[in-house]
Symmetry: C2
Subunit: 158 residues, 2 copies
Amino acid sequence: MTDDQERTLEWVERAAAFCMDEYAVPPIAGRVLAWLMICDPPEQSAGQIAEAIGASRASLATSMRLLIDAGFVRRRTRPGQKTHYYQVDDDAWERVVRRRVAGLAAFREITAQGMELAGPDPARTRRLRVAHNVFDWMDKAFASMPGPQHEGGEADGA
Amino acid sequence: MTDDQERTLEWVERAAAFCMDEYAVPPIAGRVLAWLMICDPPEQSAGQIAEAIGASRASLATSMRLLIDAGFVRRRTRPGQKTHYYQVDDDAWERVVRRRVAGLAAFREITAQGMELAGPDPARTRRLRVAHNVFDWMDKAFASMPGPQHEGGEADGA
DNA sequence: TGTAATATTCAGTACATACTGAAAATTATA
DNA sequence: TATAATTTTCAGTATGTACTGAATATTACA
């Protein structure tokens, strides 16, 4: 293995660890996603990916479905070929991050319900109100934000 | 059990579920945290909490340490008492949310490293660059934000 | 010191999840 | 149809984690 390949695999492992820690993505699915972020060509078959990251093909079937359902990866077939090709969806990260932030804001609803339950006494509901303010702020802040810089639609290069 | 108690426990279960799903907090720790958000009085002993949520005292020892380490809960002793009293830290949620966002932004560094590894070809690094932009945006957006509305420091009422 | 109340640790159990090899199903051509 | 390549499913294994009861340690006071 060349130095470059080794460094790439190290990077894949780091990026996969992030996905595991922050997004509860299983190890192999995390490696697949990371690999698809940096591999060349960017569109690869399950067999290629499995060999690159050292996983079984059975695992690939499960992981690919997970990543596709989560919106990270797209699958494409080519005419006259049995092989499926996979590629990261460029829009995935923005969508996932937005969904995550929206998920956090769900706690705003829960704290609101809690305050109703606890009654009108402001001292009693203080804990809930402070938490509510935090999530309300989060939600409003993101709703009023412009969004990241996008690029033109010229895709891959396979 | 009164209707009010039952509704409170249902709320605790909902709030705990949020903590489990979004923050990977174990079930019992989640219930403890939720209970401490709404219980009256707001400062309670491990025994009181254990009975309220139906968990063993051994679990409470583990869960309380977890919540304290994570910065959610504070412990207090009273002179002449063996009992420890626990209370949610009002600042916890803001701190935890900020930490979470900072954690997300860590991926920005990883994508930057990835682009170095992949070389100068803009078509090859497109995937990484798009992801990088998303996390860069996240980071800058939060850094430039005012923060939630705070309340004065008049605490609890135990 | 002793003793009663509380807190913590620890071994064991139960449960859930990730992963693989092997079998079954699908797909593209002859 | 048959057959060769690939994908998917599934049973079984391995691993990790949450939780509890019982034992141990700590604490407050007589």
